[in-house]
Amino acid sequence: MAEYLYNEEALENLRIKDTSVLDRLVDFESAREAHLKKEHAKKDKRMPLDEAIATFVKDGDVITDGGFSYVRTAHQAFYEIIRQGKKNLQMIGAPNTNQSFFITYGLVTHSHSSYTGAEMRGIDKVYDRALKAGRITILSEWSHGGVAQGFKAAQLGVPGLLSKQMLGSDLVRYNPYLKVIQNPLKAVKDPAVFVPALYPDVSIIHCHAADKYGNAYIYGPAVNDLAVAAAARKLIITAEEIVPENDIRYNKHGQIIPFFYADAVVEMPFGALPGSMPGCYYWPRQWWEKCMRFGGSSEENNRIFCDEWILGTKNQYEFIEKLGGARWIAEARRQTKAAEGDNEDIDFSYDEYTLTHDPGRYY
């Protein structure tokens, strides 16, 4: 394996002694090796979710969060990783909100931190508790722009990008991958941060539609996913529906992930649940409120919540049954259409979950 000259101040600040744990994320040689070895032919790559996870996610892998926190994120695939008990995982993303589901079960042990929280619903107390208890180690601290740049460098096929991002921020002092250098072409002082290309081991990207080869279509913001698809050593596409290749070729004018990155294609209706899928279904807001408020209140409650919803369901259909079944589907579809102004009813009020009031429903 190649050797790296990590930012020593950051290693010290983060108390990282054995740096080998950092290597895979920036190891271009092994990423290219993986890309060379994977199936290049245009073949039918469809398989069930459990098989895709068992085949392509290994203990110790660097995995990525996808979509944007709870929008078009492959949550149901994440839950399958948890059910299969994959261990010693590292997680990176911008945002990197969903690592706490894995941390709950001790599966993600190393974090490449960026944003962790649930916006209007507050800070991530599960992560905070795990940090204080030493159950998770921060390997690097990032801004969203920084992570995005690392993935983009990998997509562009360059060793890294020089940028002005994170300069002067303590993030640079807590990120072993970053180095501040002078712009070599400028006569005056012009510091820049070298952000290395980032190569996660495995990414799971949830899309609106895919063909059997892995050409995958996204509606709405792609966030980092086009870059991540190119950067990852292994890519699993989960899709709301599998469509004929023709459909992708001639009908869709959105953002497409090309098939040759994909190792597996999984038909996964409602694969973003409990998150939102733009144009398809809106998220169960009470579920997230319960997750943050009840689960956030103590480690025991967090475990009760996750056991019920993650280990207590086998797949997305059981998850939907718990949310309210067909009624939930209808409401979630109505809400997402309302959100985009595609139906007449834009009443978004709902019965909020609080610690003193459990509405007992998820729409």
Binding site: P95, A148, S163, K164, L167, A222, E340
Partner: protein, 276 residues
């Protein structure tokens, strides 16, 4: 003519909205900024371009989002870019006029902490950086909003650098796009600005009914006060009408709605207590 009194939250939102000029390209965040953006776009700044960090550009909020990639932002949005491009081809390239940032902790030169309330990694973690360092480094102007009392003498962690040690230190560092930096901080007690030379934060206006001592009580340094003090804007009917039409039917109505109701009740009780 409006009969119901303008609430504290409404006045703060209108104050933030007035920072947006017609034609500005503005990066918003969840909570007050998006309300401010919606009010501005629908009143005095119809040609403003609203964008979210998630890459949704030129959207028209009619229902309030709870997430920066929320489906409610994809209503009639112009186009989307990836996260990388938000910070590079829009912000760094020079197309971003204003950015709104929420503040956890701030020092007198506008340096921000949103990461750890102490020395990491063992300290209490808050939400962390998100895209704040980029917006702060590249936007032509940044508008800060803070709910709590996060003024500190020395930050335990600097997530997003402001004017560093003050004076021309930010400009001289060569790190940030020229002219960038915070222009204003809006809190429930007042409006704060930064001195053009020393870059030290000073009190520019008091929230109606708040005294200077109440402001000073939250601030660990000897706060300078503008002379004469400025004032909060007087909300126009159209701004309040729009805001009330937007807020009650939103996905966000529960928190904000409750805050609005609570503020209203508190105010009534205060008025009762003072016999007005």
């Amino acid at each position: 003519m409006l009969t119901k009194q303008v609430t504290k939250e409404e006045l703060l939102i209108v104050t933030a909205a007035r920072q947006i000029k017609n034609g500005d390209v503005v990066a918003l965040g969840i909570g007050m900024p998006i309300l401010a953006g919606a009010v501005a776009k629908n009143t005095h700044a119809p040609e403003a371009v609203l964008l979210m960090e998630s890459g949704i550009v030129d959207f028209e909020p009619c229902v309030l989002p709870v997430n920066v990639a929320d489906a409610t932002c994809t209503r009639g949005y112009g186009y989307s870019v990836d996260l990388f491009s938000v910070f590079t081809t829009i912000a760094y390239a020079g197309y971003l006029d204003k950015a709104f940032l929420g503040v956890g902790q701030i020092d007198k030169y506008g340096n921000l902490n949103t990461s750890f309330l102490g020395t990491p990694p063992a300290a209490q973690r808050i939400t962390a950086a998100g895209g704040a360092p980029e917006f702060y480094a590249y936007a032509k102007e940044t508008i800060l909003t803070m709910k709590g009392k996060g003024f500190v003498e020395k930050l335990p962690y600097m997530t997003s650098p402001g004017y560093l040690g003050g004076g021309d230190e930010r400009e001289k560092s060569g790190r940030y796009t020229p002219g960038s930096g915070p222009s204003i901080l809006i809190t429930p007690k007042g409006i704060f600005k930064f001195h053009p030379e020393t870059r030290e934060m000073y009190l520019d206006a008091l929230f109606p009914g708040v005294g200077v001592d109440e402001v000073r009580a939250d601030i660990p340094w000897d706060l300078k006060i503008a002379d004469p003090l400025g004032s909060f804007p007087v909300p126009q009917d159209e701004e309040i009408v729009f805001l009330r039409r937007l807020s009650p039917v939103s996905s966000f109505s529960n928190t904000t709605g409750k805050e609005l109701v609570m503020a209203h009740i508190r105010k009534q009780m205060e008025e009762k207590a003072t016999g007005r």
